[in-house]
C-alpha cells in the first residue's frame, strides 16, 4: 500500500515531464536527427529560442490561473520592443531603453487590469481590444518600419555563445530561469499566489472571504505586462531592430504552452513548471521538425494535435482523481 502510494507520488512528480521526455526520446531515436538533436549547441539554441515565449508564459500562467486570458501579449511584446529600440536609437543609454521597454509592457498590462475590473468586462474582450491598440501604437511609433538601433550590449542578451564564456547560456536564458523560479515561489509560498488560485477557482467566495479581488487582478495583469515588456526587450535584442510586425499570433503559442502545461482556461489550475514544460515541448518539436527537414505546415499540424492530446489527457487524469 505504502509502496504504491510512493510510486504514485513519483509518477505524479514525473507526469508533467512525460510529454517532454517523450518528444526528446522520439527525436533522439530518429537516425537522421539523432546526432545533432541532443548536442549541447542545439540544446542551447533551443533554450535561447524559448526565452521570448517563456517570459510571456510566466505572466500568462498567472492570468490563466486567475481565470482570465491575455490576447494582447504578442502585441505588447512588439510594442515594447519598438519602444526599447526607439529609446536606444534616440540616444538614451541602453539600460534606460530596456527599462522603458519593460515599463511599457507593464503599463499595457496595468491598463488591461484596470479596464477589466473597472468596466467589469470579460478579459477576452478587453485584451482583444488591447491586442489591436498595442499593435497599432507600435506601428505608429515605428512609422510602419523597422527601427534600427546601434548595436550595444543589449544584443548580447540573446547571443547563443555568451561573451564571458563561463556564463554557458545566454543572459536571456538565465533571466528566464531566475524569473521562472521567482514566479513559482510567488505562486506557491505567498499570500498573493494563493489569492490568485482562489480568484480563479471561485471569485465570489474569494471576495466574501476578504480577498481584495480587484487589486489582485490589477497586480496580476500588470505583472504579466511587465513580463511581456521583458520579452519584447529580448525580441529586440535578438533582432537588433525594433519591428512592429514581429510576434504576430505569438499570444496563441503562449496560451498553448500554459494549457499544455496543465493550465485550465476556466481558472484555478496551472503551474509555472507545467507552463515551462509546455514551452519546451513546443520548442523541441519545432527544432526536431526543422532538423527532419519537414515543412512548416507539418509542425503546425503536430503542435495542434499535441495541444488537443495534452489537454484531453489532463482531463482524463482529473476525472479519475475526482
Amino acid at each position: 500500500m505504502k509502496k504504491k502510494t510512493k510510486l504514485q507520488a513519483l509518477f505524479n512528480l514525473l507526469a508533467p515531464f512525460l510529454g517532454l521526455i517523450l518528444v526528446l526520446v522520439i527525436f533522439s531515436m530518429i537516425p537522421d536527427v539523432q546526432s545533432r538533436f541532443l548536442r549541447i549547441a542545439n540544446l542551447k539554441s533551443v533554450a535561447t529560442q524559448s526565452v521570448i515565449v517563456a517570459l510571456g508564459a510566466l505572466g500568462m500562467t498567472l492570468i490563466i490561473i486567475s481565470g482570465g486570458i491575455d490576447l494582447s501579449a504578442a502585441s505588447n511584446i512588439a510594442l515594447s520592443s519598438v519602444i526599447a529600440a526607439y529609446a536606444i536609437n534616440a540616444g538614451l543609454p541602453p539600460l534606460l531603453g530596456i527599462l522603458l521597454g519593460v515599463l511599457t509592457g507593464g503599463l499595457v498590462g496595468f491598463t488591461n487590469g484596470a479596464l477589466i475590473t473597472e468596466l467589469r468586462l470579460v478579459p477576452f474582450i478587453i485584451t482583444l481590444g488591447m491586442m489591436g491598440i498595442a499593435r497599432g501604437l507600435a506601428k505608429w511609433i515605428a512609422n510602419n518600419q523597422k527601427i534600427d538601433a546601434p548595436l550595444s550590449w543589449v544584443n548580447e542578451l540573446m547571443a547563443k555563445s555568451p561573451r564571458p564564456s563561463w556564463l554557458l547560456l545566454a543572459p536571456g536564458v538565465w533571466l528566464m530561469i531566475i524569473f521562472a523560479v521567482a514566479m513559482a515561489v510567488l505562486l506557491r509560498y505567498t499570500v498573493f499566489g494563493r489569492h490568485v488560485f482562489a480568484i480563479g477557482s471561485n471569485e465570489a467566495t474569494a471576495r466574501l472571504c476578504g480577498v481584495r479581488t480587484k487589486r489582485a487582478k490589477i497586480v496580476i495583469y500588470t505583472l504579466a505586462g511587465l513580463f511581456c515588456g521583458l520579452s519584447g526587450v529580448m525580441e529586440f535584442s535578438r533582432l537588433t531592430v525594433g519591428d512592429p510586425t514581429v510576434a504576430v499570433g505569438l499570444e496563441l503559442d503562449i496560451i498553448a504552452a500554459v494549457v499544455i502545461g496543465g493550465g485550465s482556461l476556466s481558472g484555478g489550475e496551472g503551474s509555472i513548471l507545467g507552463s515551462m514544460i509546455g514551452v519546451f515541448i513546443m520548442a523541441f518539436l519545432r527544432n526536431g521538425c526543422t532538423m527532419m527537414g519537414w515543412p512548416n505546415y507539418i509542425q503546425e499540424i503536430i503542435i495542434g494535435v499535441i495541444i488537443v492530446a495534452a489537454v484531453s489527457l489532463d482531463q482524463i487524469r482529473h476525472r479519475r482523481n475526482a
Partner: protein, 502 residues
Amino acid sequence: MTSSNSNPVALEMRRITKNFGATCALADVDFAIRKGEVQALLGENGAGKSTLVKIISGALKPDRGVMSLDGRPYHPSDPLEGRRRGVSMIYQELNLAPHLTVEENIMLGREVHRGGFLRCKDIRKKIKETLEFLRHPEIGLDLPVRQLSVGARQIVEISRAIMDKAQILVMDEPTSSLAKEDTERLFQVIRKLKAEGVSIIYISHFLEEVQDVADAYAVLRDGKNVGAGPMAAATLEEIIQLMVGKKMTDLFPRLGHQQGSVLLSLKNLKGLRMSEPVSLDLHRGEIVGLAGLIGAGRTETLRAIFGLDAVEDGLIDVDGVKILKSRPWLMIDNGLGLMSEDRQGEGLALPRSLLDNITLSRFSPYKKFCFLSVKKRAQAAREWMQALKIKAQGPHQPVLSLSGGNQQKTALARLLHQDADVLLLDEPTRGIDVMSKSQIYEWMGRLAAEGKGILFVSSYFPELLGVCDRIAVFYRGRLVEVRPAGDWRDESLMAASTTGRA
C-alpha cells in the same frame, strides 16, 4: 433543552422591514436568538426566510428596523463586516473554492504570513484541532475541496466559521443534500457548537429534523411573524398550521373534464438524477399534480420523461408507444411538451422574438422547400398571443422585454402551438402575477377538457389542490403517495412533503 433559555440574548432584530420594488418581503419582523441556542426559522417558500438571513449576514440592508449583537448596534454593510462581527453563513450552495485544498479554503482571506510569505505550520495544528473538535479528523488538509463529499465540504465551511470565531451561525437547508449518516453527524456538530455558546439559526423544510435539533422555532408567513416559541411546546401539526395559514380557494377556475384512457405511463422509470424509480399513470383529460420540496424528485422525473436527463432504467409508454430511451426530439414527435422551471435560462430564447419562441418547436406548417415563411409564422404567433392574452407590441418583440407573466404565457403558447397531447409543466406559475396565474389555470382546465393530459409540478399547495385531479407527493427522491386531490389537504400535503409519511 431548557438550559439555554436563561442565556443572554446574542442577536436581536426589531421591526425589520424590507421591500423589493412594490413587493414587501418583510414587514415589521422581530427576531431574537440567545447564546447557545438553536433556533429553527420556518416558513413556506417565499415567506421571507432568505431575506431575513441575508439581512443578518449583511448581504442585504433592511429598509427599516434595528439590530443589535451582544447588546451593541449591528448594521453590517456587507457579509465581510458581518463575519468580522462573528456572524457566519453556511450557504445552501457551498461557498468554497473547489481547486484549493481544505487548509487553503479555511484560511482564505486571513492567511498567516510574514512579509507576504505564508507561514503554515502553527495554523495547520489549529485547523486539525478544529476538525477534531467537529469529529471529522479524517478530512485531509491537503485534499482539494472538490474531491470531498458534500457533507465533508459542509464541515470545511463550518471549520472556517469556527476559525473565524463565529458567534452566530446561519445554516440554510444544511441537510437537503446530505445522506442520513451525514445528517446525524452534522447534528452532533451542532450540539457541540451549542455547548460552546454558539447560536445557530437553522433553516430547513424537514420538520422532523428540526424538531430533533432545535430548541426554539420562529415561523414567517408572507413576510410577517406568525408564531414563535420553544420547540418542545409545539406539535408538528401546530407548526404546519402556522406555516400554511388560511387560504382562499376560489382563485381556481375549474372546467369540468372527464378522464379517458391511459395516455402516459411510467413503469419504474429511473433517470440519471432520480434516486428511486417512479411508476405513475396519466390519463386523457387528467391533471396530475407533483408536490414536494425542491430537489425531492419532481423536476428530475419530468426531465427524465422528456429525455433531458438520461434514462437509466424503466419504460415510458406514450399512448401505446413504448419508449426505452427518451430524447427531447423523440418525445416531441410523440406528442409531449415540456415547460421548464428555469424560464430564463432554459425555457425561452430571451433575446429572440415572440414569434420565434412560439413557433420554435413546430416549423412544419410554415415550410416551403427549406424556407420558412415569416408572415405565416407571425400570423400564427398573433393568434396565440390573442388566445392567451399575451400583452406585447407585436410578434416581433423580443421576449426579454416582456413581464414574467407574459413570458410564462409565451412558454405555454409554444406547447399549445406544438399541439402537445401530454404537457409537462414545471412550476408554470412561479413568480408571476395573480392574473396570469389564473389564466394559466384556466387554460390547463381547457386542455384537460380537450382530452390532453397534464403533469403539473408546483411548490404551492393551494394551486395543486385547486387545479389537479390527483396529486402525487415526492420526498427525498421517492414517490410517497398518489391520491385524488379531494383526499389531500394543505396540512397533509405539507406533512407528506416534509416527513415522507402520508
